[in-house]
Amino acid sequence: MRVVLGEDLYLLREGLARLLIAHGCEVVAAVGDGPGLLEAMIEHRPDVAVVDVRMPPTFTDEGLRAALAARARVPGLPVLVLSQYVEQLYARELLADGAGGIGYLLKDRVFDAAQFVDAVRRVAAGGTAMDPEVIAKLLAHGGAKEPLGTLTPRELEVLGLMAEGRSNAAIAAKLVVTERAVAKHTSNIFAKLDLPPSDDDNRRVLAVLAYLNR
């Protein structure tokens, strides 16, 4: 798997590169600023880009903007955004094009190397990986807001796990139910959110988007 890394702190950049290489990835470029990152993403067309939000020159949301710009030029380019904090606002912006291949995780998640690499792989494959903290914030006030008000608590739970990027099998394992039960929940969710039939991956992304857009 070919990866472009965007992270301005040298220690973290090296650490991430080492971790990814150890798990069989090839780091084709590792850059430390926004414009350089955009260039590298366009030039190398990696299987996935792992990107820090805050980078030089302005130390605001360079990484995020570079990721959005790159996806505008190369639709669906998989991007996993890492940050010291997560904002629903940014999650929405990342998912807004509905093309999938989006991850948005707290930097802490890197501590668990296996889970982190798993998330990188899911994103590279066109799935989503939303940080549990984004999901938790949404669940905190449940489905009070439209259109999620029509979902049952169980369906909301399934949708949340879907947003984190888990497969039906993984959701079934987590909730201790059969995979068939999960499949039933997901098709209910798609129906209630009025998502047109299309391939399952895309519908999952759209469902997550509806979730975040409330």
Binding site: T60, Y85, Q88, A144, K145
Partner: protein
């Protein structure tokens, strides 16, 4: 070209407008006198006087604005402020006391004197601004249409030119042109200056007297002293909170982490399993420390505020709120960082209020920046009844915080709702609009 237009067209038009203004003043002061005399004779004036005085004040304020916009003369509003408890006092008693406060303000009497004099002095000055250019044009009209006018029996004087068929010297017809031109040039030259003169005349009685200015300065000093003390207190409390949070949170976790790692180091050869468990615990501690630091940072200065500015930061707040929040933001570029921060935490507090006290379900937040002021309105559909003093509402805290920036807050919250809170903070905005996609 633009200047010529101003001299020939704009200044005379403004002159005409100011003549009209002076005439309105003549009506106005008569109304005030009528209302005033009715107070002694019939008492009906007690009801009419406040209305006429309000009219007088708003007229005076319009004159101040015109003096600034047309004549370039800045005139401060020198009125004594009405204390808020008096402004809020209900019923007839409150009305009378407010009337008394207004009548005992010297400036009210100066306004009155101005209204009387302006209908003479102001109108005279304005007439020159309005008439000179027109009179010049009139000269040309006479010169050109001389035969027609005189044949029609006109017998009149244009300055020293006798316009009539039997005029002693008919060739004086041509004199009308240079005289008209002289008025035209003179009028064009003097027009803007006359408008400025009118503005200065306005400032004579409507501007603050030396004592009023001194009183205003004293009030300003008292206010600054008060808000500065508030700012220092708030800051100190904030620092104490941060110190405590760091001490009990991240710092303690780091200590535990160090201890765990030390123990793991000692155990790693003999008891690798136990060492592993300790290291996992250390990792856990570091994750918790990060979470706590994140919360702390959010409370000091939310990252999205530094990244994107007030508009997007408030949108992020809206997303995190359990309520349905609509946000509109019309902000040019970035605002002063301190004001951004104050406004952000104020909105955060207002949203908490809407959910906790007002039991609202929908909230609307509008942010906009105009004339060097940031305005924020927050309207909810809750049960209302909020007052600045009521316990736990946090409104007093907001008022104190924005007071440091000379910001003001207005709360309208009838029992039964809805609640509308408006904040207004003077602040500059920086250059370019940052793209927020």
């Amino acid at each position: 070209m633009g200047e010529l237009k101003e001299r020939l067209l704009l200044a005379p038009l403004r002159g005409w407008a100011l003549i009209g203004f002076g005439m309105w003043n003549a009506i106005l002061w008569s109304l005030v006198v009528t209302a005033g005399s009715l107070v002694s004779s019939m008492g009906v004036g007690l009801l009419l006087l406040p209305a006429t005085l309000a009219m007088l004040r708003s007229t005076a304020n319009t004159a101040r604005r015109l003096a600034r916009e047309w004549g370039g003369v800045e005139i401060e509003e020198p009125y004594r402020p009405i204390p808020p408890e008096l402004a809020a006092e209900p019923g007839l008693g409150g009305m009378l006391r407010r009337l008394l406060a207004r009548v005992s303000d010297t400036q009210t009497w100066r306004d009155f004197a101005w209204a009387i004099l302006d209908s003479v002095v102001g109108v005279t000055i304005a007439s020159f601004a309005a008439g000179l250019v027109l009179y010049g044009v009139y000269g040309f009209v006479i010169g050109i249409l001389w035969p027609t006018l005189t044949n029609a029996g006109m017998n009149d004087w244009y300055t020293f030119v006798h316009v009539s068929k039997s005029g002693a010297l008919t060739n004086l017809r041509w004199a009308a042109f240079p005289v008209g031109a002289a008025f035209l040039v003179g009028g064009a030259y003097a027009g803007p200056a006359l408008i400025r003169l009118h503005a200065r005349w306005t400032s004579v009685l409507l501007g603050p007297t030396a004592t009023a200015r001194e009183a205003a300065l004293n009030r300003r000093v008292a206010r600054l002293t008060e808000t500065r003390a508030d700012a220092v207190d708030t800051q100190a409390a904030e620092l104490r909170r941060i110190e405590r949070d760091l001490h009990d949170g991240a710092q303690a976790r780091l200590v535990a982490m160090g201890m765990n790692l030390g123990a793991a180091e000692a155990l790693i050869d003999q008891h690798p399993e136990a060492a592993k468990a300790l290291m996992a615990e250390a990792r856990e501690s570091s994750a918790k420390a990060l979470t706590e630091l994140r919360e702390l940072v959010r409370g000091i200065h939310p990252p999205v505020l530094s990244d994107r500015g007030l508009g997007d930061a408030v949108r992020a707040l809206a997303l995190d709120s359990p309520l349905h929040v609509d946000v509109t933001a019309d902000l040019p570029g970035r605002l002063e960082p301190a004001v951004e921060s104050a406004a952000y935490f104020a909105v955060s507090e207002l949203l908490t209020n809407a959910a906790k006290h007002a039991h609202a379900t929908r909230v609307r937040i509008d942010l906009w920046h105009r004339d060097g002021r940031l305005r924020v309105t927050c309207t909810d559909d809750g049960r209302g009844g909020a007052t600045v003093g009521s316990t736990g509402s946090g409104l007093a805290g907001i008022e104190r915080r924005i007071g440091t920036f000379d910001g003001v807050m207005a709360v309208r919250s009838p029992v039964g709702g809805p609640t509308e809170v408006t904040l207004e903070i003077p602040c500059a905005s920086s250059s370019a609009k940052t793209s927020t996609s």
